[in-house]
Amino acid sequence: MATKLPAKDVAIIGLGWTGAILANELSDQGLDVVAIERGPWRDTATSFNIGYAADELRYGVRLDLFQQPAQSTVTFRNRDQETALPVRQWGSFQPGNGVGGAGVHWGGQTWRHLPSDFRLRSHLTERYGKSFIPDELSIQDWGVTYAELEPFYDQFEYLAGISGKAGNLKGVIQAGGNPFEGPRLREYPLPPMQMTYAPTLFAEAAQSVGYHPFPSPAATLSADYTNTLGIRMGQCTYCGFCVGFGCANYSKASPQTSVLPVLMRKRNFEARTECEVLKVNLDRSGKRATGVTYVDSSGRQWEQPAELVLICAFAFNNVHMMLLSKIGRPYDPNTRKGAVGRNYAYQTYSSVQVFFDDKIFNPFISSGACGQTVDDLNGDNFDHSGLDFIGGGSISCQPTDGRPLAHLPVPPGTPRWGARWKEEAKKNYLRSFGFASQGSSYAAYRNHLDLDPTYTDRFGRPLLRMTFDFPDNDVRMSNHVVDRMELIAKAMTPRHYVLDRRARPYSVVPNQSTHNTGGAIMGMDPSTSAVNKYLQSWDVPNVFVVGSSAFPQNPGYNPNGTVCALAFLAADAIVSRYLKSPGRLLET
């Protein structure tokens, strides 16, 4: 059936950020690497031609860059008692597809998690006592510490040309940066982006109510840059077509702009596009991967033997691949046993829209990450004693776009069409902006991923089933943060403001965030985590699973900075330790 191909040292599933980073690091060691990517090849000038890169109908509405639900989707339900149904049109989240993956359509917000985020359960227990953690939550420590991850954060920031201002250099708090962040060894490679008016006004208001605003770290570059691989990147033009779009200007860090020019030149690297991996093949013992089987665009099946298999697809697609390949023990929410599918989490997003009469914001001058953030209400940056929740969220004013189709804010009560709507749309287009909280999403025992018993994909494989609702803790957390966002809004004295609070049940329809996490989480205990602190499968040691699937729970930030730092961490572990005794579980 499947034609067997000559063996490779490394087979990588998915050529997005993590696949590209690992491919580049491992091919630097002389390993023969193949990346197998389900979607098409994408390159800046040909795929994101500036003449159509900003086609909002094609990319913003019809979601051209994303995984096509007809090719593969997930089924969804809020709780175990319900029957999950397939998501046939993306809404709440939009998984990427093709070379570059989510690194093509992301907005470029590039965070380091807080040091306390990595030791969440230990930290909260130490500070508030064990009983303070709500029973519904299955939060865990990551197994890796902030200090261990710092050099890998740095490596990614200098690869991507992140524009920002350090708030903590080697333990010394820096004016103008985030005073809550963990210590970093050096500044960002580029200074912050130029600030537009809306974030400036937000920062003034936030400061007036006692918070500590700082420029959001951005992968949309504030200046021309040559990255650590010698690749040139250009200054961002603030065109506002980042989120959901590919960058035409070599200005938003992506695998295309930051890694592939060097990677694709290597003779010991090969990318096979429009090839969908069906499963990771295991030997008879089930403890060693022998390679992968994939289908090419003509429907032909191929077996690609490899010594090492890296699962580098999107978060929940990683979990899907593990379940289909029978790597690790599936999680059972009733017994709370098993690791694969455990601790699926999301982002508890909430926002405030403010409307003015006398202020003009020019929303079309923007980038996916240009803005200001306050971190005072994130993680455990504030005392939770006496509060009825744990966690928090960053609050950012990053007006990502002023696109003509989707960006037409009108105050509540406005008709959906007709002369009144036109009048309000015209009146408010320039005079309104929003700011939002990336609220933490803390894993709960009942939220999980498994294989759907009913629905299958075009190859007859069970779809991934997602069971998720916001934990009560997260709703309380979000409301607390939104109440403080309201104070910031009021301090701006707008004509009007609208709060968008999160409430149960979680709906998979309105767009919120493509920050899906967990399901193949890292940790120190094989019974409660799928991979060890180096992203290595506990059960099949020649498989590494890299992505936000490894987050034990999701902190209050956009995930990609940590996703890529973990990719560098895994690469370092493979190069410096794994390759010395291949096939063995690394000691942790």
Binding site: D43, T44, A45, T46, N49, I50, G51, D224, T226, L229, G230, I231, R232, M233, G234, Q235, T237, C239, A248, N249, Y250, P261, V262, R265
Partner: protein
């Protein structure tokens, strides 16, 4: 060394001197073969004799000439289909005189009008190197020309009119570096093959040396020190960086020059590239005084400016300054102000990818605009960039754009 062995060595040397010939063993020495390898790279033999993805020097590259199609032959040592059974003298005759085995006349797509200036020593080194590579069995029929050009004897007349065989003596009034530069440019590098205007017979014009030439739908720009149309505003360092990496602070290489950089000049030694730069900068330009730019109020300029702002400014900037190593600078650019706008037209219509080299791996690409801009718009925007920011050059007509489009069968 023992006395006995030293004696043998001396005897051997004496015998060698007595015969007076260059020892055959020399041609097999690592130093000679390695020098031959380097010279083959400098002469960019692979540009025509190695097909992309094909065996090294096995031929097969198709060359479109104004007279028809030629296919570069197999020059590996295969005795049947390659040149392994050729004598050194046959090889040198082909390289320097345009006469193949048995005296057949070669077409000057093989740049023997340049290689004729090559020293015998260098030619033999290349020969020595080519004898060491893997023989390839690729059988190539080079000649695909239509009548009457397929009659090789026509080259007798061509050679008589256009070809001067022979080496060029070093100019003692110039530095060794300058002479080396001239040798590299004229003989090995055969720069004039592209960068000098061709006559109707396909020969280099005697005038206009390195002042630019047409190559299909590419225009190889003026590479003299002309400050308007040439590289007179570049420093030696700018030229060295360009040839070594394919990109410098002003521009990036693409098209045929991108291939040249990739396969040839990026592999040259620093001293050779510096010699080329020194020589090129010694060639005085011919622009007496800068031409006057078109007025900003010219309707083509106004239309071009608007098109530029919408399509080009995001990368090349409002001021036409671009970004070093990523987006070519258009202001004060010799290529933009070339007499012949063919490269500009084709780049706007079809886009173009810059060469990627180890030291400049980005290889950014210009997107195509032919699907979006009509010929009048292409003409207007090119006319604009040729006359904005202090640039000055002749306007481009919609008909010129149409011709380039048609030549590529693109609607």
């Amino acid at each position: 060394m023992s006395p006995v062995r030293r004696g043998l060595w001396v005897a051997g040397l004496a015998a060698l001197l007595a015969t007076g010939s260059i020892p055959a063993a020399d041609m097999q020495s690592f130093a000679t073969i390695e020098r031959g390898r380097y010279l083959a790279v400098v002469a960019d033999c692979a540009a025509c004799h190695t097909r992309p993805g094909g065996r090294p020097y096995a031929g097969g590259v198709t060359l479109q000439t104004p007279f028809g199609t030629l296919i570069a032959p197999n020059i590996t040592p295969d005795p049947k289909v390659g040149i392994g059974s050729w004598t050194d003298e046959e090889f040198i005759a082909a390289l320097r005189d345009g006469r193949g085995r048995g005296g057949i006349y070669l077409y000057p797509a093989m740049p023997y009008p340049a290689y004729t200036k090559m020293t015998r020593e260098d030619a033999l080194a290349i020969r020595a190197y080519l004898q060491t590579i893997d023989p390839a069995p690729d059988e190539i029929e080079p000649d695909q020309l239509p009548f009457p050009f397929n009659i090789r004897a026509t080259m007798i007349v061509w050679n008589a009119m256009n070809f001067t065989a022979g080496r060029v003596a070093p100019d003692p009034s110039r530095s060794a570096q300058w002479n080396r530069g001239r040798y590299l440019v004229d003989a090995l590098g055969h720069c004039r093959t592209c960068h000098t205007r061709k006559s109707l017979m396909g020969a280099d014009e005697s005038t206009g040396y390195l002042q630019g030439g047409r190559l299909g739908s590419w225009y190889a720009p003026n590479i003299t020190a002309d400050r308007q149309k040439g590289i007179g505003r570049w420093s030696v360092g700018d030229i060295v960086t360009y040839l070594r990496t394919g990109a410098n602070a002003f521009t990036l290489s693409s098209g045929p020059m991108g291939e040249e950089v990739t396969h040839s000049s990026s592999h040259m030694t620093d001293s050779d590239v510096e010699a080329i730069a020194a020589y090129l900068l010694s060639l005085r330009g011919t622009t007496q005084k800068s031409p006057r730019p078109l007025a900003e109020t010219d309707t083509r300029m106004r239309a071009g400016h608007a098109i530029y702002e919408d399509n080009c400014a995001p990368c090349h900037n409002d001021a036409g300054t671009g970004a070093a190593g990523l987006f070519p600078r258009l202001a004060a650019s010799p290529a933009v102000q070339s007499d012949d706008a063919t490269t500009l037209i084709r780049t706007v219509l079809f886009g173009s990818q810059a060469a990627a080299t180890p030291d400049a791996p980005t290889g950014p690409a210009m997107p195509s605009f032919g699907w979006r801009l009509g010929d009048a718009q292409v003409a207007a925007v090119i006319t604009y960039i040729r006359n904005a920011w202090g640039n000055a050059a002749a306007a481009v007509s919609p008909g010129q754009s149409r011709m380039v489009r048609r030549a590529h069968n693109v609607p």
